[in-house]
Symmetry: C2
Subunit: 334 residues, 2 copies
């Protein structure tokens, strides 16, 4: 029984803003899964700012996507046929399945997921997104009750969870987002103490007013101007969690770095630290249990933005950088 | 018995390179030490890159020097008259005595030092300089045997000690310095494995060749170009110890920050952390004992550059930024 996979292939590397013109939809007849392999059917495809960084010619923490490759993407799938011990049809798995509705993948690259959770949660609060927020904020940021936590791209998938966890830890939480609507959503729905619209101008003044006691932890998803300003607002021994650099992923030229580095790091004894959630794989169960508990008792809200159909993936990715989504952006593939 | 103090006063704030024209020598008749105060005679005055940072109008980790103030400086002094319990004439003390040959200071601001050590060592390897190297490298940098440690301003007071400690910990040690003579001194006298002359051009290529296995710990005294390049050479989970920014202290305009921040911090999971040695006051005895042991058994060399006479202080500070000294720059005042 042959399976035909519909898949988005990278046609040309974007040099600036990514858009549908950089992708091409193709069909491929898949081979039978070989030894240790699985045939999976994609259920939900995760779209993340990092996807754009993977399209740059220079390697990041993984090999870059090459023109002609199926676009890389993290996804939730269901096992259709298994040729690997310990996996059976109907099992839920996640991993780097890519932008396609079916794939043959090595079972060793997949993580089995618990069917008792909603698929949207498995890809969001209980998936890589939630783990990124959890380990980045708590392990790297180490917020203490009463401290001020600033989060950029706060209306995004990771940012909206970071803010909520920081509130659960007793912090004052301030977010930045693009547009007054998202800012209102952060304070009204997501429990942020204040939100600053970085598109409204005078970010420095607005952030200073929103953080009257300075900033102790800055969870940086954005880089760029917000990072620049945050460095000046940091309190002595503050921590900057370097999670992403979304303001720069589509830039055609390399922006200068923040002028306060390294001078202010010394004067204020600041720590800036980058991390990749994949490094925390061995502590996944611990974080998942805590996050699932918060979700179950209502102290953590899951915000999802679900787009129907694999065909929409390129446009939805462009929309992510245009600031169109709130919370976790997912493509429902099946 | 009145004491007249000769002292260097900041005449005008430098906007670019600091020089003798920014200082003025004055005499002041000192009052008798009041309750809790000491009259001290300055023996050795420490000249450090940070002195220039203190002259900027913006506060650092301490209040800036104001025009009309006696220039701030760390120094070793001998108690002449004491009006404070626990201090007696002849005691050695160090602290922020300033650029003057006599001073009345609060005893609470002074630290008593052990007369059994050479005064030059008390101001260098066994003083703030040695403690900066020790805590910065070991606490913040956490080098492991076999790792590569890169140090900028390696022929300077802190850098030359950092390199030696890193060697004692089993690391491959590479330094940057200005000029081939200093570089030769680092490898021949100070035990560095390699040294790169940052004035010779193509620093990126020279550092890449000197660090074939990349860099695990970068001890940054310099900022600027060496920091830029180091970020690209860092290995995954590398640590950058932000100790100083000497390339920028005399700059008339604020230079852009390193373009690799924050992008490469994320991708390589780097940690950049600033520190001020004053924060380690409670662990001073621990470090001093270790450093004194290394000095006594010959595994640590003290490099000093001693200039005779308080009159020479302004010219010697300018010389420090012109790269004229090797090791610890001290003014012998008495």
């Amino acid at each position: 029984m042959t399976t035909v996979s519909r898949q988005w292939v990278l046609k040309a590397r974007p040099t600036g803003m990514v858009g549908p013109e950089h992708f091409e939809l193709r069909e491929e007849t898949l081979p039978e899964p070989g030894d240790g392999e699985l045939l999976v059917r994609t259920l939900l495809l995760s779209l993340d700012p990092a996807n754009r960084a993977w399209m740059a010619p220079t390697p990041t923490y993984k090999a870059p996507v090459m023109p002609g490759d199926v676009m890389h993407g993290f996804a939730l799938g269901e096992v259709v046929r298994s040729n690997a011990a310990g996996f059976a049809p109907g099992d839920l798995v996640d991993g780097m399945i890519g932008w396609r509705n079916h794939a043959v993948v090595p079972a060793a690259d997949m993580v089995r997921r618990d069917r008792r959770h909603r698929p949207e949660h498995l890809m969001g609060v209980l998936g890589v997104t939630g783990l990124t927020a959890y380990f980045g904020l708590l392990d790297i940021g180490q917020p203490k009750s009463g401290e001020t936590v600033l989060v950029s791209a706060a209306a995004g998938a990771v940012g909206s969870i970071v803010g909520q966890i920081a509130k659960l830890k007793g912090c004052r939480v301030v977010g930045t987002a693009g547009g007054s609507e998202k800012c209102a959503w952060l304070t009204r729905e997501m429990g942020f103490d204040a939100a600053v619209d970085y598109k409204a101008g005078n970010v420095r003044r607005a952030l200073r007013e929103a953080c009257p006691d300075g900033v102790d932890v800055y969870f940086d998803n954005a880089g760029g101007e917000v990072l620049n300003v945050a460095l000046f607002l940091m309190n002595t021994r503050g921590r900057i969690v370097c999670c992403g650099n979304v303001s720069q992923y589509n830039a055609e030229t390399i922006a200068p770095g923040p002028a306060a580095v390294p001078g202010l790091l010394v004067v204020k004894r600041l720590r800036m630290e980058g991390f990749i959630v994949l490094d925390y794989e061995d502590r996944r169960a611990e974080a998942e249990a805590v996050l699932a508990g918060w979700l179950a008792d209502g102290s953590l809200k899951s915000a999802e933005d679900i787009v129907e159909g694999l065909d929409q993936a390129p446009a939805a990715l462009a929309g992510l950088f245009a600031g169109r989504n709130r919370g976790k952006l997912l493509i429902r593939v099946a």
